[in-house]
């Protein structure tokens, strides 16, 4: 269906050009599921979009051979590309909240494809059929709703329905589950798997090896615009031969990686728990009006302990973090920090103690003043006269970054600066709210290793909030599982994840695709 040799895609950037794709070969046979995996900037998305002639503004596409549906696409004019899009290949992007036009109804978006590709017959009826095909309940009502009125899972289904509306033989899914909760991700993966089982052809683009392992027959690993390795999914992921693929596979955190380093060979020492309690919350409850966001939550973090807090979006994890941090006052319940009362204290008294309680957020960029340099950002958190360089060195950053602005740093470097700033006042507890969720897997591995090192050497306790069960299982000692504002299960991480007692924990664990589980 697709046969490409030596594909190059370049973008003009100021005076020079950026090579996004540098000579890749890609073949897709009818009925197979091919996956391209790679980290951000690897060129995987550009490759996918080039297949439908949407490489981007100003993109220059060169190739030795570019066949789409048996025809030479290099000679395609705009009208021919238009027929390929939607007609031959449907495209599904990341988050349907922004990938569907928010101002139009779901039905209008799906109907548009039918109109463009000359569908004859009742269009509304066909829209309802399509929504039913992707298992959207009450298709008639849903078709009249706007994307924001649908849950994440239903939205993504509607997006898939619009991609398959004109019956294209090829479906291209670019990170189709990345923005979704794990249980919803599992449903969407099942839907894609269903289409694959029906003999449809699928090109899957993902950064997530476990997702790829669940669906794909064949995997291409991309890095810096080149394909470094390709082959059958099971053999490639269980015995990768290229060093980069090996590094990627090793970097995926899971139950099996506990105690070892992710970014390199080696082990991390975990200190013996001392039994001292750094922070303790009892009966923490937060209500907004009649809506209970956090319901009777108990949290205890020991000195040098890493406690994981997992749950899906809307489960109340972040509100718990805000309550513990003292940004929001609880409706009921108390928090004790370092043996003294923390809630109910006037801010004036808490301020001096705040140094010992630090926060690392998912998006450090928005927690930095964009006009400040790295030096100023870290120095502000240091006691007077403290040196910035040794701290940066500890988090693995060189002194050459001192005078840069946050915008001039990569995502991983920014998160390291955020960690350096959090470490500066020598805290006894760091609350980490999804600290690695926005990072690529290899960068995530380095940051997780760094956090484990900090705990091992300084004995800093951490409350680690994450939606990623693999990350929590890799790093945490104990875990709390939150659902609808309440903690449904807690205990040592191996007990909870290997022998879950609550139904929700079981459901959550079953939904997560793991690399080991998929290729076994």
């Amino acid at each position: 269906m697709i046969a490409i040799r030596d594909l190059h895609v370049t973008f003009p950037h100021r005076r020079h050009t950026v090579e996004a794709v540098r000579g890749i070969d890609l073949d897709i046979e009818p009925g197979e599921c091919v996956a391209i995996v790679g980290e951000s900037g690897s060129g995987k998305s550009v490759t996918a979009r080039t297949l439908v002639g949407l490489a981007g503004p100003g993109a220059v596409v060169r190739s030795a051979k570019f066949e789409v549906d048996g025809r030479d696409a290099r000679a395609f004019g705009p009208e021919e590309w238009r027929r390929v899009r939607g007609g031959f290949a449907g495209l599904v992007l990341q988050d349907a909240l922004v990938s569907l036009d928010p101002l139009r109804t779901v039905g209008a978006e799906i109907g548009e494809v039918l109109r463009v590709h000359g569908h004859r017959g009742d269009r509304d009826l066909r829209v309802r059929d399509l929504l039913a095909t992707v298992h959207v309940p009450e298709p008639e009502r849903r078709a009249r709703q706007h994307p924001h009125q649908l849950s994440g899972g239903l939205r993504q289904r509607a997006l898939i329905a619009s991609a398959i509306a004109a019956g294209p033989p090829l479906l291209i899914a670019d990170e189709p589950t990345t923005a979704l909760d794990v249980t919803v991700q599992a449903q969407i993966l099942a839907l894609l798997g269903e289409r694959r089982a029906a003999g449809e052809t699928l090109l899957l683009i993902s950064h997530d090896l476990a997702v790829v392992a669940r669906l794909a027959d064949r995997v291409l690993v991309m890095r810096d615009g080149r394909i470094v390795e390709s082959g059958g999914t099971a053999s490639l992921l269980s015995a990768p031969s290229h060093p980069y693929t090996q590094e990627l596979v090793r970097a995926v955190p899971s139950a099996a990686t506990r105690g070892r380093r992710l970014s390199e060979a080696g082990v991390v020492a975990a200190p013996e728990p001392s039994g001292d309690v750094v922070l303790e919350a009892r009966g923490l409850t937060k209500r907004y009006g009649r809506h209970t966001v956090v319901d009777d939550v108990d949290v205890r973090v020991g000195r040098g302990e890493i406690v994981g807090l997992v749950g899906e979006s809307g489960s109340g994890k972040t509100t718990v973090a805000q309550l513990l941090f003292g940004l929001v006052a609880p409706t009921a319940g108390t928090v004790t920090f370092e043996g003294e009362a923390w809630t109910g204290q006037p801010e004036r008294r808490r301020r001096a103690r705040r140094r010992h309680l630090q926060l690392i957020s998912q998006d450090p960029l928005s927690s930095f003043d964009p006009r400040w340099t790295v030096r100023k950002i870290v120095a502000e958190a240091l006691p007077r006269g403290g040196a910035v360089e040794p701290l940066l060195e500890r988090v693995g950053l060189g002194a050459e970054l001192l005078d840069r602005n946050p915008r001039q740093l990569s995502g991983g470097q920014r998160q390291r600066v955020a960690i350096a700033r959090a470490l500066a006042p020598r805290p006894s507890l760091i609350i980490c709210d999804e600290p690695v969720s926005a990072l690529d897997v290899s960068v995530q591995a380095q940051v997780l290793d760094l956090l484990a090192d900090i705990r091992a050497t300084d004995g800093t306790a951490m409350l680690f909030i994450s939606h990623d069960l693999g990350v929590v299982h890799h790093l945490a000692d104990r875990v709390l599982v939150m659902h609808d504002g309440a903690v449904v299960e807690s205990g040592p991480v191996d007990d909870v994840f290997h022998h879950p007692r609550h139904d929700y924990t079981r459901e959550l664990l079953a939904a997560v695709p793991t690399l080991e589980g998929e290729i076994r």
Binding site: R85, G86, V98, S99, D101, P102, L103, E112, V113
Partner: protein, 302 residues
């Protein structure tokens, strides 16, 4: 519910505008009697007759409440200068002004839509942007004078002044419309640019939509939101611009009346013009808010 609330706040704005104007005029130098006499004969007898006729011997508060009461019933009082009901004075001049403002608004909006959609290529875009900036930063009366000298004095295509026939409307309407088109085009273009960067545009293109359809069906609607919010500003600009343009082109209308009323301290007329402006403003802003609700379903939730 949301409509009722909007109308409620609109009424409050009207009341505040009327009261503020009343207080400002009360604080202005010179007595009411002086204004009413104007250039006429000035004797103690005439003065006392005027005080009696206009009930000026009542306390200020009573006069204010009386004014509000009558205004609420549509009675805006009598002009000191023209000795005619203000309603008639304004009513006669309202239509020429409204006609000019409406034509200018339609022209400006149409021009902005066409320019924002058609000048997408780098070269045409640069030319259009420059022209917009020049238009936005030029005072309207200057644009009017330039248009007059070229199209009336030199080419003789349009009448120089007055309000006879459609031809007389062309130059003043264009003068008012050009700066409006300048601002709106910039806002619309920026909105379209931003919308085209959104992921849903990639999805739309991936459906096989033509570029024109992507613009018209998806991007333009997103770009309309910030433009519609400017509707209130548009009304203000038009009302303010009309006063000047009517003078430049020697047209009858509210502008002329306002100018005359202010210079001769004709309080009832000035008050009525202020209240009318506030009314137009409230109506336009309410319309803009409701239009936003129609365009963006996400705003309808609360």
């Amino acid at each position: 519910m949301i409509v009722l609330r909007r109308i409620g706040t609109g009424l409050v704005v009207l009341w505040v505008a009327a009261t503020a104007a009343y207080l400002a005029l009360l604080a202005a130098p010179g007595s009411t009697v002086d204004s009413i006499i104007g250039d006429g004969a000035d004797t103690p007898l005439i003065r006392s007759q005027i005080v009696q006729e206009w009930h000026l011997d009542r306390p200020a508060v009573v006069q204010y409440v009386d004014y509000l009461w009558r205004a609420a019933h549509g009675d805006l009082g009598r002009s000191y200068l023209l000795q005619r009901p203000v309603r008639d004075v304004l009513g006669a001049q309202l239509w020429p002004t409204l006609k000019l403002a409406l034509v200018a608004a339609v022209l400006g909006i149409a021009l902005a839509l066409v320019l924002a959609v058609t000048t997408r290529r780098p070269w045409s875009r640069r030319v259009s942007s420059t022209a917009e900036l020049v238009l936005v930063s030029t005072p309207p009366f200057l644009i009017g004078l330039v248009l007059l000298s070229v199209f009336s004095f030199q080419l003789g295509l349009f009448p120089v002044s007055g309000d006879r026939g459609a031809a007389a409307l062309v130059l003043p309407a264009v003068t008012l419309a050009l700066p409006i088109a300048g601002v709106l085009t910039q806002v619309l273009r920026d909105g379209i640019d931003r919308a085209l960067d959104e992921p849903f545009v990639i999805t739309a293109r991936a459906r096989g939509l033509r570029e024109r359809a992507v613009l018209a069906r998806h991007a333009l609607r997103h770009a309309l939101l910030p433009a519609v919010s400017l509707l209130g500003w548009l009304g203000g600009t038009l009302l303010g611009g009309v006063v000047i343009i009517e003078t430049v082109f020697g047209r009858p209308g509210l502008g002329q009346v306002t100018l005359q009323a202010v210079t001769s301290e004709d309080m009832p007329v000035v008050l009525a013009v202020v209240v009318f402006s506030a009314f137009a403003y409230v109506v336009l802003n309410t319309a803009a808010d409701l239009a936003c609700l129609v365009i963006d379903p996400r705003l309808r939730r609360s």
